[in-house]
C-alpha cells in the first residue's frame, strides 16, 4: 500500500461519485461543440484532453503492447462550489443527446462539505422533501343518488373567494344604517401568485407574470392577483391600471416603500391588498435576503440603496414591540395610507403560535385576513437548515386556526390564506382545494408558478435550487441580462394563462362530483379523507383506507 501522502486526498476532497448529480456523457455522440460547458451555470464541467490506452497485439511477433490515443472529453469538477446542480441545461443545449445529469443513487458525501470556510449552506428553492400530506387528501363525498352530481363542463361554478375583513351580518346592517365604514373586500380567484420580490425575480419574469395576470383578469375573467414580495414594485406598475391585480408587500426592510408612498397620489387605482410580512414559511425567524450580485441598477433604484450590496432585511420589524402594538401601528397606518379602501393583512410563518396571532387579529377591526406560510414554502435564499427543518407544516396549522375561528363563530369574518407546498409535486388543484376544505379561503402558490409558467428546473430532489446565486439557468431569478433574456415575458404570460385556465377546470372537476357550485367550499371538511388515522384525527376529517 502506498503512503497516504502520495494520494491527493484532503478532508474535503471528493470524487464525482460523491456528488449529488453525476454527469453521464457519451463520447460516441460528442461533436465537441462546447455548448454544454458554456451554458453550465456552475462551470461544473469542462472539456479536457484525455488519454486512452489502446491494447495492441502483434500476432506475428507474438508481442503484446499498448498504444495511446488522445481525445477531448468532458470532466466533472468535484469542488463543492462547482458541483453539478442537475439543472440539465447541458442536456437542453446538446444537439446530440450526448450529455446530461443523473441523480446519484448513493449517499452523496458532498452534503457534508457545504460548510466551507465556516459558511453554513445557503441556497434557494425549496425544502427538498418530496412527501406531501396534502397529496394524500382525497375528495370522498361524491354526490350520486342522494343528489345528482353537477356537470363540470356545462354548469356554472362560483369559484372565487373573498379577501378582506367581513363584518358580521348584524354589524354590517348597523353600519349600513348609520353610514359607518364597511371594510374593503376583494373578490378574487382563490389561487394567488404568492409573494416573490422584484429583486428575487428577473424583470422578464415579473413582466411575464404581470402580463399573464392581466390577461387572466381582463380576457379570461379569472380574477387572479399576485403578491410582490418585499422590495417594492416598478414605478410604471404603481401608476398603471394593473395595480389592482397586485398585493403590495411590506416587510421588515421596508425596501421599496419610499417609492410606493411617493406614487400614491399618481395611482390610477388601489392595489388589491397590502401584505405585511412578519414571517415566511421557508425561513421563519429570518428576514429577506437579496445577495449583492442580484442588486442591479434597477433594483438599487427601486429599493433606494447603492448597487451591488447585500440586502438583508431584519428578522423582525424594527417597530415591533408587541403584537398588539404592531397590529395597531402597521395595519392601521397602511389602511390609512389608502383611505381605508385597501385590505391590509399580515403574513406569518406556520407556527404553533399562529393561533395567538389570529386571536389578536380577530379583535382588530382593521385586520383583513391572515396568511399562514407553511414549512414547505419556497424562497430565493435561505439557510438550508431553516428551509429543511424550521417551521410548521401548513395543514394542521391552518386547520387549528380555522377550528378556532369556528368555535368563536368568526370563520366568515377573518379569511385565512394558506401556503407552503401547494403543488409541490404538481398536484396544485388537489392541494389547494384540500386546504380550502380544511378552512382556507385561498392559497398562495409561488414555486409551482415558477415551474409551471416559467419552466423553473428546481425540484424537491435538490435539483437546481440556486436561485440565491443570481445564476438561474432559466433566467427566472437572475438580474443578469444575459440570463434573463433567455426568458420571453410573452411566453411566461401565455403559460400563466394556461396554468390558471387548467386550475379553474380542475376545480370544477373536483367540485362537480361533490355537488358544490354556488360558493367555494371553504371548510367543507365532510368532503375529504386521508389514509392516515392520526392525521385524520388531528385534522378532524375522515380516515379512509
Amino acid at each position: 500500500m502506498v503512503s497516504i501522502r502520495s494520494i491527493p486526498s484532503t478532508p474535503s476532497s471528493l470524487t464525482h461519485l460523491d456528488l449529488q448529480w453525476i454527469i453521464k456523457h457519451r463520447e460516441d455522440r460528442f461533436t465537441l461543440c462546447g455548448r454544454c460547458t458554456s451554458v453550465c451555470p456552475k462551470e461544473a464541467i469542462f472539456l479536457t484532453y484525455r488519454r486512452q490506452r489502446m491494447p495492441k497485439l502483434d500476432i506475428l511477433k507474438k508481442k503484446r503492447s499498448s498504444e495511446y490515443r488522445t481525445f477531448t472529453g468532458i470532466r466533472q469538477r468535484t469542488e463543492p462550489a462547482n458541483r453539478c446542480i442537475g439543472c440539465g441545461m447541458c442536456a437542453t443545449v446538446c444537439p446530440n443527446e450526448a450529455i446530461g445529469p443523473e441523480p446519484n443513487p448513493n449517499d452523496p458525501r458532498v452534503r457534508l462539505l457545504h460548510n466551507d470556510k465556516g459558511e453554513a449552506w445557503k441556497r434557494g428553492g425549496r425544502r427538498n422533501f418530496r412527501g406531501s400530506l396534502l397529496d394524500r387528501i382525497m375528495f370522498t363525498r361524491i354526490s350520486m343518488l342522494t343528489d345528482p352530481a353537477l356537470d363540470a363542463g356545462r354548469h356554472e361554478f362560483q369559484l372565487n373567494t373573498l379577501l378582506g375583513r367581513v363584518l358580521s351580518p348584524e354589524e354590517f346592517l348597523r353600519r349600513k344604517a348609520t353610514g359607518g365604514w364597511i371594510p374593503p373586500v376583494r373578490e378574487i380567484f382563490p389561487f394567488i401568485i404568492g409573494s416573490m420580490s422584484f429583486g428575487a425575480l428577473s424583470p422578464n419574469m415579473w413582466l411575464g407574470l404581470l402580463q399573464g395576470v392581466a390577461y387572466c383578469n381582463e380576457v379570461l375573467g379569472i380574477p387572479v392577483v399576485m403578491a410582490t414580495g418585499e422590495g417594492g414594485c416598478p414605478p410604471w406598475v404603481l401608476k398603471s391600471p394593473y395595480l389592482k391585480y397586485i398585493i403590495l408587500q411590506i416587510a421588515s426592510g421596508y425596501f421599496g416603500w419610499d417609492e410606493i408612498i411617493r406614487a400614491i397620489p399618481d395611482m390610477q387605482c388601489d392595489p388589491a391588498a397590502i401584505e405585511i410580512k412578519y414571517g415566511q414559511g421557508a425561513k421563519p425567524g429570518d428576514g429577506g435576503l437579496l445577495m449583492w450580485f442580484k442588486v442591479s441598477k434597477l433594483i438599487a433604484r427601486l429599493r433606494g440603496v447603492p448597487e451591488g450590496v447585500d440586502l438583508p432585511s431584519p428578522p423582525v420589524h424594527q417597530t415591533l414591540y408587541s403584537i398588539e402594538e404592531s397590529v395597531m401601528k402597521m395595519i392601521q397606518s397602511l389602511s390609512m395610507a389608502w383611505g381605508f379602501r385597501v385590505p391590509v393583512y399580515p403574513k406569518i410563518s406556520g407556527s404553533t403560535s399562529a393561533k395567538s396571532v389570529l386571536n389578536n387579529l380577530v379583535r382588530n377591526p382593521y385586520a383583513s385576513a391572515l396568511m399562514i406560510d407553511g414549512v414547505d414554502g419556497g424562497t430565493g435564499a435561505a439557510y438550508n437548515v431553516s428551509m429543511d427543518a424550521t417551521g410548521h407544516p401548513i395543514a394542521s396549522n391552518l386547520r387549528e386556526c380555522y377550528l378556532d375561528l369556528v368555535a368563536q363563530g368568526k370563520q366568515n369574518e377573518i379569511p385565512l390564506f394558506a401556503a407552503g407546498g401547494v403543488g409541490k409535486n404538481g398536484n396544485v388543484t388537489q392541494n389547494g382545494l384540500a386546504l380550502i376544505m380544511l378552512g382556507a379561503s385561498g392559497v398562495h402558490i409561488g414555486k409551482y408558478m415558477m415551474q409551471s409558467a416559467a419552466g423553473c428546473l428546481g425540484s424537491e430532489q435538490n435539483r437546481c435550487n440556486v436561485c440565491n446565486l443570481g445564476i438561474c439557468p432559466k433566467g427566472i431569478t437572475s438580474q443578469n441580462t444575459k440570463l434573463y433574456r433567455r426568458l420571453d415575458p410573452d411566453q411566461v404570460a401565455e403559460r400563466v394563462a394556461d396554468t390558471f385556465m387548467a386550475i379553474s377546470t380542475e376545480m370544477r372537476k373536483v367540485l362537480a362530483p361533490l355537488g358544490r357550485s354556488q360558493s367555494l367550499p371553504i371548510g367543507m371538511s365532510d368532503a375529504i379523507g386521508i389514509d392516515d388515522a392520526a392525521a385524520a384525527e388531528k385534522l378532524q376529517i375522515k380516515y379512509i383506507c
Binding site: 342522494t146 362560483q158 346592517l173 349600513k176 369556528v406 355537488g515 354556488q518
Partner: protein, 380 residues
C-alpha cells in the same frame, strides 16, 4: 327523496286531507315517516285562543309524561287543554310510545311583564330545556314545538298509516295551514328530531334534496351560540335556522332569504338597483349560501307560506290553487290532489330567482324575483 305537501286555506280543514293527497305522490318515495305542522288550529273539543302556546311531542314512558307535567307546573304554566289522541297503537311501528301529547297552556303569570320578544325567547328556552330533559333520560321525551297556534306531529311509518293510527280523520283537529312531509331522514340514523318540518320560534320549513354545503353552514350556525341553533340531525335543518336568522333575528324582509341562500352573481348584482347593498349582504352571509338540489317550503307565524328553490339543480316544486285556497307540493300530482278544482294554467314552478309567497289573506300567489328591486328602505 322527501315528498312535501303544504295546503293553506282560509277555512280550516282536516290534516288528513293532506295525508291522502300525499298518497298521490307515493312513487319515488320510501314513505318512512311523517312530519306534520299545523297552524291556525281549531279543536272541536276546545275553544282555542291563539296566543296560548301549544306543546307538541311524544312521551315515550309514563315516567317521562309525569316529569313533563311536573316541569310545566313548576315553570308556572297552567294546563288549559290536553288533546287526547284516539291512538291505535297496533298501527304504530315504534314500540316505545306512551303518549302523543298536544297540550294548550296559559303563560305563567310572572311573564305578564315580559315584552313580546322576551316571551318568544322564553318559550324557545322552555322547549329546549324539555328536549334536554328527555335527552338526559335516555331520550324518553321528544318535544317538537312549543308555540302559540302551532301543532307538530312526527312519527315513523307510512304517512297515511300514521294518520289513521292517530285518527286524524276524526276532524277533532283542523287547521288553516298544514305542512306535511313523508319521510324519515333515512340518510342517517332514524331520529324523530331529524324529520322535517323543522321548527323554531314560529318558523317552519321542510325540504327535499340534499344540502351539500351543510357542514360549513352548520358550523357557522353553531358558532353563533344561539340556544335554538342545535340539533342538526338532518342537513335540512339549516334551512329553517337560516330563515329564522334572516327574518327573525336580523329582522330583514322575507325577500332577503333567497338573496342569502342563493345570492345573485356579481355580474347580475352589478346591474341590480340595490346591488351594492346586496353584494355586501352576500359577503357577510356568504357561509349561508346553500348548494345542492333543494326545494324549500316554509310557513311563518302569520300563516304566510313560501316556496324557494336552490340555484341550479332545482328539485321539483309546484304551487297552485285559487283565491282562499292554495297548495304547494314537491310533485304536481300532489297539488292536483289537494286542490283539484283550480285553474291549472296558473300553476307555477319557481325557478332559481323566484320566491313564491302565499300571503295570509290567501287572495293570490305572489312571485318575487331576485332581479326585482329589493325593499331597502325597510332595512334602514
Amino acid at each position: 327523496m322527501c315528498r312535501l305537501a303544504l295546503k293553506t286555506a282560509s277555512k280550516p280543514f282536516s290534516p288528513y286531507d293532506v295525508l291522502t293527497a300525499m298518497e298521490a305522490m307515493q312513487e319515488g318515495y320510501d314513505g318512512s315517516g311523517l312530519g306534520l305542522v299545523l297552524r291556525g288550529v281549531k279543536f272541536t273539543d276546545f275553544t282555542y285562543r291563539t296566543q296560548d302556546p301549544i306543546l307538541s311531542g311524544i312521551a315515550h314512558t309514563e315516567a317521562a309524561y309525569h316529569r313533563l307535567d311536573a316541569f310545566m307546573q313548576e315553570k308556572g304554566f297552567q294546563l288549559k287543554y290536553d288533546h287526547e289522541f284516539d291512538v291505535d297503537f297496533k298501527k304504530i311501528e315504534a314500540q316505545d310510545r306512551y303518549k302523543y301529547f298536544l297540550r294548550v297552556y296559559k303563560l305563567p303569570a310572572s311573564w305578564k311583564t315580559y315584552a313580546a320578544d322576551e316571551v318568544e325567547e322564553q318559550l324557545m328556552l322552555n322547549r329546549l330545556e324539555l328536549r334536554k330533559n328527555g335527552e338526559d333520560h335516555g331520550g324518553d321525551l321528544t318535544v317538537f314545538s312549543f308555540w302559540p297556534d302551532v301543532v307538530t306531529i312526527k312519527e315513523v311509518g307510512w304517512p297515511l298509516g300514521i294518520g289513521k293510527a292517530l285518527h286524524l280523520n276524526d276532524d277533532r283537529i283542523e287547521a288553516r295551514v298544514v305542512m306535511a312531509q313523508g319521510r324519515q331522514n333515512t340518510n342517517y340514523g332514524i331520529n324523530l328530531y331529524a324529520c322535517h318540518p323543522f321548527f323554531i320560534q314560529g318558523i317552519a320549513t321542510m325540504t327535499n334534496g340534499e344540502n351539500t354545503a351543510y357542514v360549513p353552514i352548520k358550523e357557522l350556525l353553531t358558532g353563533m351560540h344561539y340556544p335554538g341553533y342545535i340539533g342538526y340531525q338532518s342537513d335540512s335543518e339549516v334551512f329553517t335556522h337560516i330563515l329564522h336568522y334572516v327574518h327573525k333575528r336580523l329582522k330583514l324582509p322575507l325577500e332577503t332569504y333567497k338573496h342569502v341562500i342563493t345570492p345573485l352573481k356579481t355580474e347580475e348584482l352589478n346591474m341590480h338597483p340595490q346591488g351594492d347593498f346586496l353584494k355586501g349582504m352576500r359577503n357577510v352571509c356568504r357561509r349561508m349560501i346553500i348548494d345542492g338540489p333543494n326545494c324549500v317550503i316554509g310557513s311563518l307565524q302569520d300563516e304566510t307560506c313560501i316556496m324557494v328553490q336552490d340555484h341550479k339543480k332545482l328539485r321539483p316544486g309546484t304551487v297552485g290553487g285559487k283565491k282562499g285556497e292554495w297548495a304547494m307540493a314537491s310533485e304536481m300530482c300532489g297539488v292536483d290532489a289537494m286542490i283539484p278544482d283550480r285553474d291549472r294554467s296558473h300553476d307555477f314552478q319557481p325557478m332559481r330567482e323566484n320566491t313564491v309567497i302565499i300571503p295570509p289573506d290567501r287572495k293570490e300567489m305572489k312571485i318575487w324575483s331576485q332581479f326585482d328591486p329589493y325593499p331597502l328602505p325597510q332595512v334602514a
